[in-house]
Symmetry: C2
Subunit: 423 residues, 2 copies
């Protein structure tokens, strides 16, 4: 019997991906349906609905769910859900579409899914602003002057404001996992696959390390704390789209491979990737990370400093604090069961003679090797030496090769706002 | 409201220590009672019953409880309890004592408690052998030839076999905490005191580091893992009696003080001591460590390699494994709520560039600094240099001073069987 946490929402894994003959006949049908072009984010969301990663969601949210999620982090039936999962369409498409009909959802020419339209609702500027304020605003310095800064400097806000004039809602049938299975073999895993792998290891208490950046010693330290106190850790990388300037998934995978190969005990670590794009939603995104982790069978999410952070919009530990104030439906089926494993700011300390955090190291700033991701990128891209103990040589070598390749083609731009921050 | 785990047994803290006028009048009464001399172990047990550390016990066990505890680790009412807490008396005392009467329990001239006699039962050689086999036998090499080795080389077995011919049972009124409060000011704490201290810090998830030996980097590493994932750690030392050759509590306290002062963040660590003697009961003692920790408000016990180990009687991780097979009464009042926080064999690793365990370090033996406590003692007592990264210099200096003082008086005998092993 599996010792893993059950999927979120109390309905088991809700998988909208069709297979076999059902898939073939749906594909044929889809060819004759009205086509709507979707965003990269929506494509990731669809694949997650396909493989059960977004259980209990089985489609894009209607207005009642969207409103309730923005306002209360609850679906309208009272189930916890931290961020809107909506599909935007143009005014023209909204006019053409009809409630009750089926449509095909297309990305870059590939039919990703069909949807039975249940509701089409307008998203005015005011609605989008309201969503942004509810979902993206935090307590960091830049959130104090949110509307001055956000539209240009917050990639999450930017994305929502750029959405089209309507949302379209309804259950979906997913027809494709995109190029993830072939692009990331052995890394891209469905919740059922990851669960099977963990069941085979007889794991029950599992932590996920969320990664969207190269894995350095701080990440390694977090993962290893988890290995010490759990059955194992899943290094679970986002392999969907990031913003320009972020390091591509392939390079990040190579860093992780190297680190796992040289510095981990294989028995207690699993590498995996999930197909979502970053939403850059800060603390709420941390909750989303925990929510879909539960579907993957993971009951602890490592949350470090500035998890899913965006520039100065969020307090350094706001993504930890939100777990203390989020709604907790009393029915276990409706509540989030994946817990945060909160870790303080970590670094190498010469006096401690090893990795430590602000909770465990009483020494002075001068004793510690602290380096921002932003500064590290600059050092690597300029071929400078990186201070001892900050990274593993083997990983830094991978990054150096990447940056050397880059500089031949294009000068690395240091993006101030989110480059290398967060996880 | 306290976030701490409730005391074991579902009856709150059961404290048998009298205070104020009740204490004075009981003392007067005790002066006229029949006196029975008790062991050092029984004195520690009495003080624990006095301060609530042995909740829900309110006296020494009758035959039914003794038998049920030895056999099933349950009191006869079904409450979890891992080791016998019994009081042995001579045949002459047994003959003189009467069920129903009150007696005074005396240690080194001090009346520690009064007891209302409820039962007197014989402990034949067969009974003692049975108790030893149930309580002390493990899966290590020396347990395979238990009766060949145990009577001479197992201090716990030795103690039980040396007990007198009868046990006497009944509820107690405790009149003294002995010299612990004055001998260990600020360290010796009652469960109520430790709970108040932790409540003031708003702690809920707390781990205890059990210590009966000087604190080295491996212990520090265990404690710091706990600090990373709990509200805080209690470094909880045994300040009762050990066997000859073990390092005295005062020296151990100085080591801990030094370590806490130089290497811990004060906010997340509490130092405390408890008044028990070692029983040298291996895995069962680990369960006892967890049981009374629950009374102290602690819900996690760090259990490392060879916890409460005795020579080669127990498997290195038998004290962790017993938590998986111990009885789990379904009523939460009767079940043990303090969980083990199991940590693998730990060491400094040059390639990891810090502390690690067999779960987190994939490197070779040559990359690791591994030193047995026995070997360390030998090095310190002979004034040899200790390898880098094994201990903290400041702590080793304390131990060196102790050994230098010793050698003037008496040559340090290296005791093979348990010296420096375990926690």
């Amino acid at each position: 019997m599996s010792k893993l946490v059950p999927p979120h929402g109390g309905k088991g894994l809700v998988c909208c991906l069709l297979e076999g003959s059902a898939l073939e006949s749906e594909k044929k049908k889809a060819a004759g349906l009205k086509r709507i072009e979707i965003s990269s984010r929506a494509r990731g969301d669809l694949i997650m609905m396909g493989i059960g990663g977004f259980s209990p969601l089985n489609g894009f949210m209607n207005k009642a769910d969207w409103k309730s999620v923005c306002e209360k982090m609850l679906l309208s039936d009272g189930t916890f859900w931290p961020v809107p999962v909506t599909l935007d369409i143009s005014a023209a498409d909204a006019k053409a579409a009809k409630v009750g009909e089926e449509i095909a959802l297309v990305r870059n020419g590939e039919v990703m899914a069909t949807m039975k339209v249940e509701e089409i609702y307008e998203m005015t500027e005011a609605d989008k602003n309201w969503e942004c304020e509810k979902v993206f605003k935090g307590s960091g310095p830049d959130s104090q002057k949110f509307w001055e800064v956000a539209p240009s400097d917050h990639p999450g806000v930017k994305m929502v404001l750029a959405q089209k004039e309507y949302n379209i809602a309804g259950p979906v049938k997913v027809l494709s996992e995109g190029d993830f299975p072939e692009k990331f073999p052995g890394i891209y895993k469905t919740p059922a696959q990851l669960r099977a792998e963990m069941d085979a290891k007889n794991w029950g208490k599992v932590a996920a390390l969320q990664l969207r950046n190269p894995m350095h010693r701080s990440h390694e330290y977090l993962a290893k704390i988890a290995v010490e106190v759990c059955d194992g850790v899943v290094i679970h990388s986002l392999v969907g789209s990031l913003k320009p300037g972020d390091i591509p998934a392939e390079v990040r995978m190579e860093c992780i491979n190297t680190l796992v190969e040289k510095y981990f005990v294989k028995e207690h670590v699993i590498q995996a990737g999930y197909p979502l794009d970053m939403r850059y939603a800060g603390p709420r995104e941390a909750l989303l990370h925990a929510t879909f982790r539960q579907n993957y069978g993971i009951n602890n999410l490592l949350v470090g400093r500035d998890h899913a952070g965006v520039g100065d919009f969020y307090g350094l530990f706001e993504a930890q604090e939100i777990f203390d104030v989020m709604p907790r439906p009393s029915s276990p089926g409706k509540a989030l069961l994946c817990q945060p494993m909160k870790i303080d700011w970590t670094f190498y300390c010469f006096k401690c003679d090893g990795m430590a955090s602000l909770r465990t190291c009483p020494h002075a700033k001068e004793d510690r090797v602290i380096l921002s991701g932003t500064k590290l990128r600059k050092m690597l891209s300029e071929g400078q030496e990186v201070p001892d103990h900050f990274g593993r040589d083997e990983v830094l070598a991978v990054l150096r090769r990447y940056y050397e390749g880059l500089t031949e083609k294009v000068e690395v731009k240091m993006q101030g706002f989110a480059a290398g921050k967060g996880m």
